[in-house]
Symmetry: C2
Subunit: 341 residues, 2 copies
């Protein structure tokens, strides 16, 4: 059964406690969860004596579309963007909590897929889905909160970058933005379309299957989770995950640290598939790389003398001043001005 | 200026970062917050080495109405229902995180009121509003997560009630349900109506101002916060906050503990104002007390020999068996059956 969400049972048939029991039954709990779902609140281990917390709200139609992504992909993506915020502090994620607004006619199989997506993305970092809340809503609403443990390390904030340091990148840039552009150009791009299966979906793209990797990047980010805590151990002085676009997010580091960041565009990765998709759509691939969000790459400032492992690629440097400069581009040109704070 | 939300500035005029700056500017942080809003995630103290976590999703129209409650009341209520879950574990709340879905045309003054409501309710227990997320939405969506510290105590779950113990209550029952019934009966009951101001609102009630206390209870719960950690210290063996109605919530303790709970209706508080409102509307006040939610009273099981302070009133006892029995009422009668699990 390829599309398990084409099941006839709807969440309204289960009732609130039935829905909760069904969700909880799919969620194993790791040892950091001392008390899991089923009480007024959960109890987690916080061995460090401090806890890292972040929350995001995701709305159907604005942050995801059921006709563009499978429930598993939506659950993974909602978990990923929160887990990524935790690792960007240099912490190890321990658990997420999910507030779910669900339409009464939502197929139960779809909810199963969503639950599994949350669970499986969390499992990548050893975190549990340790609790949540269910309410009825017209459209799907996902309120996700992620927690993490610093393991004795100082949190890596946005404010520690200093002139003379290098800026390094772990993970992908521009892939999710390219995937979104491909989905928008293709029109119908549901799970049964060419972009999902690699077959001819009948869209405007002649060979959408060739760009499946990019569409997949939009549907399911692959944050370089392990690089976050590793960066803290390596001595990163500032870090964040790229969720709003590299330039805008580097602008946050520049502003919080009181420094200027200079990006070398030649050092930015522009893989062939990105260049090919840009050519197909008449776009600038570097635009996707510089301003696309949702891949949840990590960018960090490190002391110049640090020896970085291969996951990290140096893409720029920190200087005196303010704002973000892309070498070879005038600041007033190309629309980068509004990324400065 | 009585209605500060009749301000001409809309949230869309501020932009995302302007909104965040405005909210954060109204939120002092208590010392438990090591790193507050403005980074990928917040960092909180968790001195106990464990952290208590709960989350709720609240939707406009389903959980609150802008024409029935002020923004301050909505913020307070959303915070209260989460803080109450934390104290029901015997923990001290440390912080809440708020995911806000806001319409673009929402007046900024309304958002200020909501923010102040979150802040002021949290301040009652020494907790901070330590972070959040802003997204644009058609209707207001509130995703609230609360955290707490156990201070070295064992969490008080739902599963520790044992035959021979007593069931005790702290806080009010039925007030919020009566207030909601009054609002529904009155029709227009916005902030300028009789129910809000005590003047004649022109509704079906002849003297709505006489029941202002009950309407206020619907708009703003007053959970007995301090009684939660105090109960843990007194030796409570099971506890929860009444959010779905006393009988249903006692059913959760009975089910989780594998016991029967017998409630003495004569021991339940039915103040005059509740009786008068019930007479006015032709309702049974004991029905509100037994099945009304949203007052967030605490109910707990204690060893029989415990000496309870005056905040706690014994309302029943734990026996062998299962389910919840109200003395003097046949179980098959009165519609209580569906509260048994």
């Amino acid at each position: 059964m390829e599309h398990t969400w084409r099941c006839d049972i709807r969440v309204t048939d289960l009732g609130e406690f039935g829905i909760i029991a069904r969700i909880v039954g799919r969620l194993p709990q790791f040892p950091a969860v001392l008390l899991g779902p089923g009480d007024d609140a959960a109890v987690l281990r916080a061995p460090d004596g401090r806890v890292v917390v972040t929350t995001d709200l995701l709305l159907e139609g604005r942050h995801f579309r059921r006709d563009w992504s499978s429930p598993d992909e939506i659950g993974r993506k909602a978990a990923a963007q929160n887990l990524s915020d935790v690792v960007a502090m240099g912490a190890d994620p321990t658990a997420i909590f999910v507030g779910l607004g669900l339409p009464g006619d939502l197929p139960v199989g779809w909810l199963d897929g969503l639950t599994d997506g949350f669970r499986d993305e969390c499992a990548l970092v050893g975190a549990s889905v340790a609790g949540g809340d269910i309410v009825r809503s017209e459209q799907i609403v996902l309120g996700v909160t992620a927690l993490g443990d610093l393991g004795g390390r100082a949190p890596v904030t946005r404010s520690g970058a200093r002139p003379g340091q290098v800026i390094a990148l772990a993970g992908r840039l521009g892939h999710a933005a390219a995937g979104l552009a491909l989905l928008l150009a293709t029109g119908d791009a549901g799970p049964g379309s060419g972009l999902g299966s690699g077959s001819d979906g009948g869209g405007v793209l002649r060979e959408p299957g060739a760009f499946l990797e990019l569409v997949d990047a939009h549907r399911r980010p692959r944050p370089p989770y392990a690089c976050g805590p590793a960066a803290a151990i390596l001595g990163a002085t500032a870090m964040l995950d790229v969720s709003d676009g590299l330039l805008q997010d580097l602008g946050h580091i520049a502003s919080a640290s009181g420094v200027r960041i200079v990006v070398e565009p030649g050092a930015l990765p522009v893989p062939d598939v990105l260049a090919a998709a840009a050519a197909e759509l008449g776009e600038d691939p570097l635009g996707w790389v510089l301003t696309g969000g949702e891949d949840h790459a990590l960018v960090a400032a490190f002391p110049e003398e640090v020896s970085l492992p291969p996951e990290w690629k140096i893409i720029g440097r920190v200087t005196e001043g303010e704002g973000v400069q892309v070498t070879g581009r005038a600041e007033a040109e190309g629309g980068w001005d509004h990324y400065r704070e």
